[in-house]
Structure formats: structure tokens, C-alpha cells
């Protein structure tokens, strides 16, 4: 069926749409035994009208029909190593490197070197673990933000927040990215060292039942000099990223030395 070129131009917004012809109805039109009257037709989703289309859709999903989007090639490149200081992982494909980078060197906390899957979780971590002002404010108001994207609830304690996560959002009780701080109070140098010691090893398996110790591929970060406190956090500069914004990644936070 050939499309008249004028139609395209018209619907694309070309001016000069003609005045509609005058409407003039005769009352005899559509009267018995005739019954035509113009009407808008709406079909509910389960209507038979959509059967053919639905069948096409599902044939497409099941790969019976040709997929219209071609997947991009995965180029392989000569082996190279990760350039982040202390990391010596080697890769043969850019995609593998991309994932490694985001997982390990992405949203990294500069205080304790933990990596997180998203900026939101990193921000929450920094506030709750490394910000002394947060601790002071938390004594008087609800500061612990819900971790679920889109939920704006705040809580007095991290325990209350955990309960909210479990009851309201059906999160697992041992959700890996919601570990409470072990030492209470403002971040002290001693605490920082303890926290750093925790970063070695671990792969996030919950403490109950599994004694799984795994060597971290992360080199042990240098201990913070006593007395020094940083009041800001470094992020990986946004110039180093694959995609939009700053890179993201994570590392679990389970203590390595805890005995089960």
C-alpha cells in the first residue's frame, strides 16, 4: 500500500490543513432497520482482537521470529591489566574489564576502601560510617535513610531501618549492603584502623553456617596515620568511567577475622 506523500507532511506538522467539510446529518440516517452510528471502539487487553498480535509477540520472545535488534560485536583485544594502583587483574576483552572496574574500583569509599554497587549506597555508607556530624545529628533526629531507591523514609537507628527494609520492602535479613557499624560514636582513628582491617578478604557470605574465607584480590590499603581525619570523600573522577557519570562498583563488608 503506497503512502501518499502529502499524508506524511501533514502529520509531521505541515501547515495548510484544510477546513473540515460542513457536517449536515439527515435524521433518517441510521434509523431502523439500519443501525449505523459512528462509535469509538476500545478493546480490553484480553480481547480476541489482540490474539494475532500477542501470538506474534510471543513468537518473537521465544526467538522463533527474527530479532530486530542486532547485538553488538564483542571485540577481543590483546591482554592488558587493570591500571588501578595495586590491582593486577588481566583481561582479554573490554566488557570483562568494564565489569571488573565497576565491581571493584567503582564507588569506592576513600576512608575504608569498600566498594559499593551504587552511589546511593556509597553515600549512605560514608554518612553513617565516617561522618561525625551525622552521628551527632542522629542523636536528635531520624537520619538513617532507607536504602531502597524511591523510598524517602528515615529512621532513628540503623536497626529501625533494617526492620523497615525487612518488613516493608521484603529485603533479606542479612542484606549485604546494610551492615551496621561495629564501633559507635564519631569516627576515631582507632576505629578507622579496625575498619581497614575488616576490608581484607571476605566475599560477603553471611556469617551463619558458612566459614568461607576468600582472599581479596584487593591489595591491602595503607593504614591511616593516627590522628588524621578526612572530612570529605574522594570519588573516582568521572572522567574514568564506562557510561554515564562516575563509575560504580562494590565490595562486600563482611569481617574477615570473625570466627563462626
Amino acid at each position: 500500500m503506497q503512502l501518499p506523500p502529502a499524508l506524511h507532511a501533514r502529520l509531521a506538522g505541515a501547515p495548510g490543513s484544510a477546513e473540515p467539510l460542513p457536517v449536515e446529518r439527515n435524521p433518517a440516517a441510521g434509523t431502523a432497520p439500519f443501525r449505523f452510528a459512528p462509535r469509538l471502539v476500545r478493546f480490553p487487553r484480553e480481547h480476541d482482537f489482540f490474539e494475532d498480535g500477542d501470538v506474534q509477540r510471543h513468537l518473537y520472545l521465544q526467538d522463533v521470529l527474527t530479532q530486530v535488534g542486532g547485538a553488538p560485536e564483542r571485540p577481543r583485544v590483546p591482554e592488558f591489566t587493570c591500571q588501578v594502583a595495586g590491582c593486577c587483574q588481566a583481561f582479554g576483552a573490554l566488557d570483562d574489564y568494564e565489569h571488573h572496574y565497576h565491581a571493584l574500583h567503582g564507588n569506592v569509599c576513600s576512608f575504608c576502601e569498600r566498594a559499593f554497587p551504587s552511589g546511593r549506597l556509597l553515600d549512605a555508607h560514608i554518612l553513617e560510617w565516617h561522618d561525625s556530624l551525622f552521628q551527632i545529628l542522629a542523636e536528635r533526629q531520624d537520619m538513617y535513610q532507607c536504602l531502597v531507591e524511591g523510598c524517602t523514609e528515615k529512621f532513628r537507628t540503623s536497626r529501625d531501618r533494617k526492620e523497615h527494609l525487612v518488613m516493608r520492602h521484603l529485603y533479606p535479613v542479612d542484606f549485604r549492603f546494610d551492615k551496621p557499624r561495629k564501633s559507635r560514636g564519631p569516627a576515631m582513628p582507632g576505629a578507622a584502623e579496625q575498619v581497614l582491617a575488616e576490608t581484607l578478604g571476605d566475599d560477603g557470605v553471611p556469617s551463619e553456617g558458612d566459614a568461607m574465607e576468600v582472599c581479596s584480590e584487593h591489595v591491602e590499603p595503607p593504614p591511616e596515620p593516627a590522628g588524621e581525619r578526612r572530612a570529605y570523600s574522594h570519588r573516582i573522577p568521572s572522567t574514568i568511567c564506562f557510561g554515564q557519570g562516575a563509575s560504580r562498583g562494590f565490595k562486600s563488608t563482611k569481617k574477615r577475622n570473625k570466627h563462626q
Partner: protein, 452 residues
């Protein structure tokens, strides 16, 4: 027939006839499933190029002991390659339903898998995610629902930036979503809608297509109109969807197909279409349709079979349905139809099928009922001979609609009845004189034609 693979097309190893037969069987099964409201399809993302690199052989069925061994190696192996290798073997084994069953029944297996999914080893994460993906694709509910402990993490990772990994998470989520209402009852409070809304801003096409798939599965759910569509409409998802459907050089068909289906499920649920209209849905979709139709004319690529109007009979009814709703109450649309010379092309469609013919005649009635000024523009021309042809049909609905149109023409267009008589119209009417649904109208028309 081609099967999709990452970056390559590879012919399937069967004859064409066998493929056609298989397709017919699949179609019949899908129609039956639809009638029983059991229409469920999942997507499987398997990187066949990757499998070939692994010197693929048919996946063997693993028993408990073997699975435990793989898991132990993956968790505690000393060599990086050894750990990955173990998980890869497990993942390939999980292609078999028997192995899947054994896996989920093994105590601690899912827990361990989730642990690997959330570990700090990027490649283990990826393989663990692939294992979950295989499980999510299962036809056994128990296997699919065993993946539930992983969902909060799958959602968390959607705000990451590793596009391959996110794509995998999305397809897995899409498969889980469509499995049962129980799964959705967990995913909704876990924040799947905001997570998708955040993720749709990704620049990666593979991620977008996967997201569209997952969202379409969510919107297709039975309880979607009450429980899901309102929150989707309240999010930023609709405006991003429409953006991804804008015609132009940036339009990606794979992505567009997914979001077009998303919009279909939203719109025919009738929850709040006014909102979509204010966001420009009508103009976006209208322009897209035109763009695609134009592309169809220019291309011979079989890959666009979804959009070849002539070859996909299912598209004609829908296009004509659209025309009906446009012309029913709108003098301007009817005028446009006339001034853009679309009547003759419409008449050509009258021989396609009964459903299509009824729709074409309905659209023509929409135009004719607006009065003499409109009928004048329908006359003379091929309309009369087309109508005489449709009167030769045996389908009562087609004939009935032709009779309605004739009444309008006789009423509003002087000379129409005369011309009708001269072209043996009465004889054409005669064969329907005894048909119950038609006889009153046939007689009425005979009277009008003879006596004015």
C-alpha cells in the same frame, strides 16, 4: 530461519519444512495458551559465541556430589581460573532441568550462589548471575521461585554501570516477573519500579532492550491495572519510553519493539491514558508509525518483518481500528482522509479478509454519515463497484456493513441510487433477501432504490 546470537547469525540445522511445521505448532500452542489466559514466554540470554569458545558439548546432568564440588571450588578454590571454571561448569550444567531440580534441593546451594553473586570477584559475579539466569528461565515454578533470595541484589545492581551485568540482571528479573504473582508481590515492595525508572537513563542499547523486556513482563501481569500500572504511570518511565520511541536516526528497533509493547499493555488497561496523551504519546506514536511505514516501502530487509504491513495480516485490523477511532467523531479527520486521497487505497483492502473488510466499510461509513458534503467527495469513483463486489460476499457482517453504507449514500448523494440500479444492484441485493440479519435492510434499500 535464523536464530539470534550475539553479534552473529547462524543457520539452524533443520530443513525449512520442519521449521515451518514447528512454527505452526508453536503458534497453535500460543493461541491455546492465550485463550486459557496462560500466555507466558521468557527470554533466554545465552551467549552462543561464548559457548563455542568453551568448546561446547551437550550439557551433562550433574548429581548432588558434583554440584557440591563445583560450589566448593567456586567458593574456596585458590586459583582464580579454577574458581571461575567450576562456576562455568555449574552454569552449563544448569541448562538441564534435571540438574536444576537437584541444585535447588541441595541445602545451601542458593545461599552460596547469592554469596558468589555479591562477592568481590567480578567474573564470579557474572557467572553466578548467569546461573541464576538459567534457573529463571525454567518452566518449573519451584526452580524459578528458588531465585527469590537474589532479587534484592538484582535490583540493587540495576543502579550500577556494568552494562553486560545489568543486562543479565534485567533479563533474569523479566523471567522471574512473569512466573507468578507471588514473585511480583515480592518485587514490587522491593522497589522494582523506581529501580527501572533509574535504570532507563542508561545510554546502553542492550540495557534498554532488556529493561523494556522486563517492564513489558511486569505490565502484562493480570493484576497490572490495579497494582502496577498506576505506579508506573506515576514514575518517569512513560516519558523515557516515549523518548525511546521517537522516530529518527537514533531509533533502535529492538528497543522500540519492547517499549511499544509496554505502551500497549498500559494503554489497553485504560488506567490513565489522558496522562499519556499530555506527554505526547499520540504524536510520537503517529509519527513513528509513518516513519516505519516509509521505511517498509524502502527496504526489502526480512529482519523488519514485524513492520511489513502487507505481509502481516494482524497489522491491518489494528491500523484500521485506529482509523475508525480517528474518524468516528472527527469531521477534520474525515476531511483529511478525503483530501489526501486515501479512499482508493482503503478500497483495495476490501479483498483481504472479512475482518478487514468490515473495518474498511466502518471507516467509510464514518465518513459518509457526516452528510452530503462528504458523500459528494466519495462519488463517483470506484466506491460503487467495490460495494457491489462486497455484496457478493457471503459473510453477513461484511454485507451488513455494505448495506449501511449504501443507505447513507442513497440518502446523501443524488444519483447514487440510480447508478446502483443501472449496475444491477438489485440483483446483487436479491441473494440476501432470505438472510435473517439482513433481510429488513435489503428490503428497505430495494424500496429506496426503486421509489426514492
Amino acid at each position: 530461519m535464523w536464530s539470534r546470537e550475539r553479534g552473529r547469525l547462524k543457520p539452524l540445522r533443520c530443513g525449512v519444512e520442519e521449521l515451518r511445521c514447528r512454527r505452526r505448532e508453536r503458534e497453535a500452542a500460543l493461541r491455546k495458551a492465550r485463550r486459557e489466559q496462560q500466555l507466558v514466554s521468557k527470554r533466554l540470554l545465552r551467549d552462543e559465541a561464548l559457548e563455542e569458545a568453551e568448546e561446547g558439548c551437550v550439557a551433562v546432568i550433574f548429581g548432588e556430589a558434583e554440584i557440591q564440588q563445583f560450589l566448593r571450588l567456586a567458593q574456596r578454590g585458590t586459583e582464580e581460573k579454577e574458581r571461575e571454571g567450576a562456576l562455568v561448569s555449574l552454569r552449563r550444567g544448569l541448562q538441564r532441568p534435571e540438574t536444576q531440580q537437584t541444585f535447588i534441593r541441595l541445602e545451601g546451594s542458593i545461599r552460596t550462589l547469592v554469596g558468589l553473586l555479591t562477592s568481590n570477584r567480578a567474573l564470579l559475579q557474572l557467572e553466578a548471575a548467569r546461573c541464576l539466569h538459567e534457573l529463571s528461565h525454567s518452566e518449573q515454578s519451584a526452580v524459578v521461585e528458588a531465585c527469590l533470595p537474589a532479587t534484592s541484589y538484582l535490583l540493587t545492581y540495576l543502579s550500577g554501570h556494568s552494562s553486560d551485568f545489568i543486562e543479565l540482571c534485567l533479563y533474569t528479573l523479566g523471567n522471574l516477573i512473569v512466573e507468578s504473582e507471588a514473585v511480583r508481590r515480592q518485587l514490587l515492595p522491593q522497589g522494582i519500579v523506581p529501580a527501572l525508572a533509574a535504570c532507563i537513563q542508561s545510554p546502553h542499547l542492550t540495557v534498554l532492550e532488556a529493561l523494556g523486556y522486563a517492564l513489558s513482563q511486569l505490565l502484562q501481569a493480570k493484576e497490572a491495572p490495579e497494582k502496577i500500572i498506576p505506579s508506573v504511570l506515576g514514575s518517569t518511565l512513560p516519558q523515557h519510553m516515549l523518548q525511546l520511541l521517537q522516530p529518527g536516526p537514533k531509533l533502535n528497533l529492538g528497543v522500540a519493539v519492547e517499549f511499544a509493547w509496554c505502551l500497549h499493555y498500559i494503554i489497553c488497561s485504560q488506567v490513565n491514558n489522558a496522562l499519556l496523551i499530555t506527554q505526547g504519546a499520540l504524536s510520537t506514536l503517529g509519527l513513528l508509525l509513518l516513519d516505519l511505514a516509509g521505511a517498509v516501502q524502502r527496504t526489502e530487509d526480512a529482519g523488519l518483518e514485524l513492520f511489513l504491513l502487507q505481509k502481516q495480516p494482524s497489522l491491518l485490523p489494528e491500523g484500521l481500528w485506529l482509523l475508525n477511532n480517528l474518524t468516528a467523531n472527527s469531521p477534520s479527520f474525515c476531511t483529511s482522509l478525503l483530501s489526501l486521497d486515501l479512499i482508493e487505497p482503503l478500497l483495495h483492502l476490501l479483498s483481504v479478509s472479512n475482518v478487514v473488510s468490515v473495518l474498511v466499510l466502518t471507516v467509510l461509513c464514518n465518513v459518509a454519515e457526516k452528510g452530503p458534503a462528504y458523500c459528494q467527495r466519495l462519488w463517483p469513483g470506484p466506491l460503487l463497484s467495490s460495494l457491489l463486489d462486497t455484496l457478493a460476499f457471503s459473510d453477513t457482517e461484511v454485507v451488513g456493513q455494505s448495506l449501511e453504507l449504501l443507505q447513507l449514500l442513497f440518502l446523501y448523494q443524488p444519483g447514487a441510487a440510480q447508478a446502483f440500479l443501472q449496475q444491477s444492484g438489485l440483483q446483487a441485493l436479491q441473494r440476501h433477501e432470505e438472510v435473517a440479519q439482513l433481510q429488513d435492510r435489503v428490503h428497505a434499500l430495494q424500496q429506496i432504490a426503486l421509489h426514492g
